[in-house]
């Protein structure tokens, strides 16, 4: 199975591990990530204003590239996934936006939200299956207690993201079980890390991340996993934190025997 793949800006720079381990794992699991050519940055945050058009065009271009190849589009960074999935919904359901965007882009054929957008985790769950993944595990992470950190972007608004139950998600916990470890459920797993606030108001995100890491540690987690480079950055800035934070793809690659010790 071949998918169009959108890595996004950060996966080419500070979050190369997130990307590298995903690609390696995909080939073992029997699917291919074909990077969209000449993709542009998604902008990091979804433009909320109903009159915002230009800021959504880079996402539309990527979606249209996948459509031309008749492939689903796979994302990995939580922020890219959030932005592209929401723009796709606009292109499908919001006439003012899809009309203006198409008028602006002058594509050979109008884009109307035809492309399916999947987060890498959704591919694992819905296309591969966690049972199948479990069969491919050669080095199970037995005995590891892992806290899934969802944050905001993958879950909300659930009416559009349709990723999992926004208040009681389980996709990452099921993933953790599939790689042989034990998931730790803790209250702050779907609360915000502070996001972009950490640029100018570092104390604010620090306080929020303290709550998250203390909550996870208090419930017995040895480590946290995330799909978001910004969550990773913010969580690592907490001073009291003792537990390490990994990208979920790194642990996936480890379980599949793809990671050098």
């Amino acid at each position: 199975m071949k998918y169009s793949y959108y890595p996004g800006c950060t996966l080419k720079n500070k979050a190369q591990a997130l990307d590298m381990y995903a690609r390696a794992s995909a080939s073992v699991l029997g699917f291919e990530l074909e990077e969209v050519s000449e993709w542009q940055c998604c902008g990091g945050v979804y433009p909320l204003g109903s009159d915002e058009i230009a800021t959504k065009l880079s996402s539309v271009r990527v979606l249209n590239e996948a459509k031309k190849k008749d492939q689903a589009l796979v994302t990995l960074c939580s922020a890219c996934h959030h932005v592209i999935k929401r723009v796709n919904d606009d292109m499908k359901n919001v006439p003012d936006i899809y009309q203006k965007a198409n008028r602006y882009l002058q594509l050979e054929e109008d884009y109307r939200g035809e492309t399916n957008v999947y987060h890498f985790l959704e591919v694992l769950r819905d296309q591969i299956g966690f049972d199948k993944l479990k069969e491919k595990v050669v080095k199970p992470l037995t005995g590891k207690k892992i806290g899934a950190y969802y944050g905001c972007l993958l879950l909300r608004p659930s009416s559009i993201l349709a990723f999992d139950n926004p208040e009681n998600p389980k996709i990452l916990e099921d993933f953790i079980r599939a790689i042989g470890a034990e998931p730790v459920i803790y209250p702050y797993r779907n609360e915000c890390c502070g996001g972009y606030i950490s640029l100018k108001e570092k104390d604010m995100s620090k306080n929020m991340c303290e709550k998250i890491t203390q909550s996870a540690e208090g419930f017995g987690a040895d480590m946290l996993i995330t799909a978001c480079p910004l969550c990773m950055y913010n969580l690592n800035k907490t001073e009291s934190k003792k537990i390490p934070v990994y990208y979920f793809t790194e642990l996936l690659a480890e379980a599949l025997g793809l990671k050098e010790d």
Binding site: G8, C9, T10, N13, K14, A15, C41, G43, G44, V45, Y46, P47, L48, G49, S50, D51, T55, C77, A79, C152, L155, R156, P157, S158, P166, E191, C192, G194, G195, Y196, I197, S198, L199, K200, E201, M204, M208, C228, P229, L230, M232, Y233, N236
Partner: protein, 129 residues
């Protein structure tokens, strides 16, 4: 600045929010991770727009404390989407001359070696036109 009535209309248009749907339960503010840092709270934003008191909103520090985490949007029992109102006011401010909250000149001293690109592009998009 335009009249507050016109601004209120513009905010409703940009946000797509109908403040009259709000039943003042306060759940948005109760769930907001930035609540303590805000001078005007999320549920109050809805009332201010309803009452066409926009001047104060445009001066509120809350505009720069909202994280767009969508907790208020997801958890609102009336689907009012207070976060979209806050964002609309922020855009109203940023679309005016000198309305930006972040200047490229500030960036060098805010950088550290681990900063992900995602943080910079997100901040630029939220904090300026």
């Amino acid at each position: 600045m335009k009249s507050e009535k016109k601004q209120a209309e513009k905010i409703k248009e940009i946000s797509g929010v109908n403040p009259l749907k709000c039943m003042k339960c306060g759940k948005c503010s109760a769930t907001c991770p930035s609540f303590a840092e805000m001078d005007i709270k999320p549920h109050q934003f809805v009332s201010y727009v309803q009452n066409e008191e926009i001047e104060e909103l445009t001066k509120s520090v809350s505009l720069w404390k909202c994280l767009s985490c969508f907790a208020c949007v997801e958890r609102c029992p009336r689907d009012v989407k207070p976060g979209k109102i806050i964002d609309a006011v922020r855009q109203l401010v940023e679309r005016e001359k000198d309305g930006d909250y972040l200047s490229p000149n500030e960036i060098p001293e805010l950088l550290d070696p681990e900063i992900p690109q995602q943080l910079l592009v997100s901040a630029f998009r939220r904090y300026r036109r």
